[in-house]
């Protein structure tokens, strides 16, 4: 039972956890900037990036694909900015336009260059599967200290941790700029905050978090982890610091509990097989959001103002 944990469960839990935390970190900012749907937009626009990197490099090695997807994500963000500058489009319309045009361009590229006759199956090429990230040499706690066994730790976990550390440290360094330009852009601009660079960095961080997580855990939970934990934290607190902390807590809770529920719950109630961990994590984050909203309602009814008096 316990060696099974290191073989089968440990790496998926950790990878899910770190991917979820990266997405939630950036998600807090996106929710405040009213750009929550950016995460879904990125999941649609990566198609042409992958097709182009397939056409150039002729294979779908993970790094080519990550780079292709990342470049497509950034180009899409650029397109959104251009559309918003030159038309009356709001964020929603600019994202809708960009995601449909990029996706259509990807489909056209596949048809025109490959004639549809290649197994370029984006669903499987880009989107990973959390449960498959087994650690083949993971036998016990001691395996972590065994260099040979460490070799077989799935690279997705390493990437998820690096991604999380990178995003967390950049956000810490730029915290002041991030907050002030999100809260009051005009003021940020005259205070000398490079507002454009900050926006581009947010988009870059979102793309990074999304693409790394697509590869490790699949597309479904990415949007959920970007949006649901920050939203749940947002309805519960008025303080930004508390919002960050609560959302990370919710995110970790959904990721770890979601994997466990998906793996064990159906078997406990008598089914033979488990259900999708990614789907369960997303569903669980939705349940947390619903509970947070219901709870905040009850709170509001009697201490909406007094409860926050200092």
């Amino acid at each position: 039972m316990f060696d099974d944990f290191f073989l089968i469960s440990l790496v998926p839990i950790l990878t899910g956890l770190f991917s979820a935390l990266s997405c939630t970190l950036v998600g807090n900012i996106l929710v405040l900037r009213k750009q929550a749907m950016l995460s879904d937009t990125i999941s649609h626009v990566v198609l042409p990036g992958i097709v182009i990197s397939f056409l150039i490099f002729g294979n779908l090695g993970p790094y080519f694909m990550l780079v292709g997807a990342g470049i497509a994500g950034l180009t899409a963000v650029g397109t959104i900015v251009v559309l918003r500058t030159y038309t009356s489009m709001d964020n929603s319309a600019a994202m809708a336009t960009t995601l449909s045009v990029f996706f259509a361009a990807g489909v056209l590229m596949i048809e025109l260059t490959l004639g549809g006759n290649v197994h370029l199956d984006v669903e499987h090429a880009l989107y990973g599967n959390l449960e498959s990230l087994i650690w083949i040499d993971g036998k016990s706690l001691m395996s972590i200290f065994d260099p040979a066994a460490r070799q077989t730790i799935p690279v997705e976990l390493t990437r998820a941790i690096i991604g999380f550390v990178l995003i967390a440290s950049v956000m810490l360094v730029f915290y002041r700029f991030l907050i002030v330009s999100t809260f009051d852009q005009t003021f940020a601009e005259i205070s000398g905050v490079p507002v454009g660079i900050v926006s581009a960095s947010v988009a870059l961080a979102a793309t990074l978090a999304a693409v790394i997580s697509f590869d490790a855990v699949g597309s479904i939970i990415v949007v959920a982890m970007f949006v649901c934990p920050p939203a749940a934290a947002r309805v519960l607190t008025h303080s930004l610091r508390d919002q960050f902390c609560l959302s990370l807590l919710f995110s970790a809770l959904s990721a770890v509990l979601g994997y466990a529920v998906a793996g064990y719950f159906p078997i406990l109630v008598g089914f033979e097989t488990s259900i999708s961990a990614a789907g369960t994590i997303a569903t669980l984050s939705g349940v947390i959001l619903a509970c947070a909203i219901l709870y905040s309602k009850r709170q509001r009814s009697y201490d909406f103002l007094d409860g926050h008096q200092t």
Binding site: D4, L7, I8, S9, P12, L47, G106, V107, I110, E111, L114, G115, G116, N117, V118, H119, L120, D121, V122, E123, H124, A125, G128, N129, E131, S132, I134, I136, T152, P154, Y259, A262, G263, P266, I267, E272, T273, S274, I275, S276, A277
Partner: protein, 317 residues
């Protein structure tokens, strides 16, 4: 066929000669990916072997998502039988990891390369839908049988017997197909379906196979293609088109309407099993039943008086 059988006997003899790995009476726990493989393994394996398919009979392997219990089953298995040829694309990484520790049989790759159909001249990948040709499936059965008897040397007589009778059924199925399709004229030998899954059927029974869509799942048919197919149906006086169990029937019905508008009577020939078998517990839920259903349905739609309930008189009608 004789060649295959001889090869198998040779292999099993070698296996007996080798020091036996499995202890007598020990059971073997086999996990297969798709239903077709699990059914074939069940036909061949001796009684005390547990065989489990990850994908239920009606599940499309392209759309399958493995869950934790599937991964656990794979890591616990004594033998993993998968199809290979990139059919289980979403599990490639997982198999690469398990491959270092577990015996994995890529049964579909037992089909000799010269019998495989590449997607196109430039492509290094082969079309994985080899089960459409029961003759090629003998290679798969052969690979499973040799693997089983090397694992269970003391059961090799039973395995060999099961294998022989399964191969006999496969040959009977092939012959049945040739018999009932023999009367179809060359010009009418066209199989038109929603997507390109029947190319091995085509090469086995001398049919031109056409799909409305390409192979890729992101592919979408253009109007040009639809009009082209309508012209072709009328030109070659094709009588029937087919829908697949795992594909939407819209494009096929559009063809029927399109040809009807030009006065051609194109029938919907029925539903074929392409990537997934019929419901569990039915005859169509077995490999033989699935192919029987396809052959009988195609023949009857093209005007042949094939037995309504198929080769074994077991088809559901």
């Amino acid at each position: 066929m004789n060649i295959n059988r001889r090869r198998f006997v040779g292999l099993s003899a070698a296996a007996i000669a080798a020091p036996s790995i499995a202890v007598a009476g020990q059971s073997l726990n086999i996990v297969c990916t798709v239903g077709m493989l699990a059914d074939t393994a069940k036909q061949i394996a001796p009684a005390n072997v547990t065989i489990r398919a990850l994908m239920g009979p009606g599940t499309d392997p392209h759309a399958f998502r493995q869950t934790r219990s599937d991964v656990v089953a794979l890591t616990k298995a004594d033998l993993i039988i998968r199809h290979g040829l990139y059919l289980e694309a979403q599990m490639e990484d997982l198999f690469a990891k398990l491959g270092n520790r577990k015996p994995i049989l890529s049964a579909g790759e037992a089909v000799p390369n010269h019998n495989l159909l590449p997607y196109d001249d430039a492509s290094p990948q082969y079309d994985p839908h080899v089960w459409m040709d029961p003759t090629l499936w003998i290679h798969v059965a052969d690979a499973i049988a040799s693997e089983l008897s090397s694992k269970l040397p003391n059961k090799s007589a039973e395995i060999s017997q099961n294998y022989a009778s399964f191969v006999e059924t496969l040959i009977r199925l092939t012959d049945y197909g040739h018999d009932i399709l023999a009367s179809v004229p060359k010009q009418a030998r066209v199989l038109l379906t929603a997507h390109d899954a029947f190319r091995y059927f085509g090469s086995a029974y001398d049919f031109d196979v056409m799909g409305v869509k390409g192979i890729s799942t992101t592919s979408e048919a253009g109007l040009y293609r639809i009009e082209e197919l309508v012209d072709l149906i009328i030109e070659r006086q094709i009588k029937a088109v087919f829908v697949e169990s795992s594909q939407s029937d819209r494009n096929i019905r559009a063809l029927i309407e399109g040809t009807a508008a030009r006065g051609h009577d194109l029938k919907l020939g029925g539903q074929l099993f392409s990537d997934a078998m019929g419901p569990a517990g039915t005859y169509e839920g077995t490999y033989i039943g699935m192919i029987d259903h396809n052959l009988t349905t195609i023949a009857r739609a093209l005007g042949v008086d094939a037995p309504k309930r198929g080769m074994n008189d077991r088809l559901n009608v």
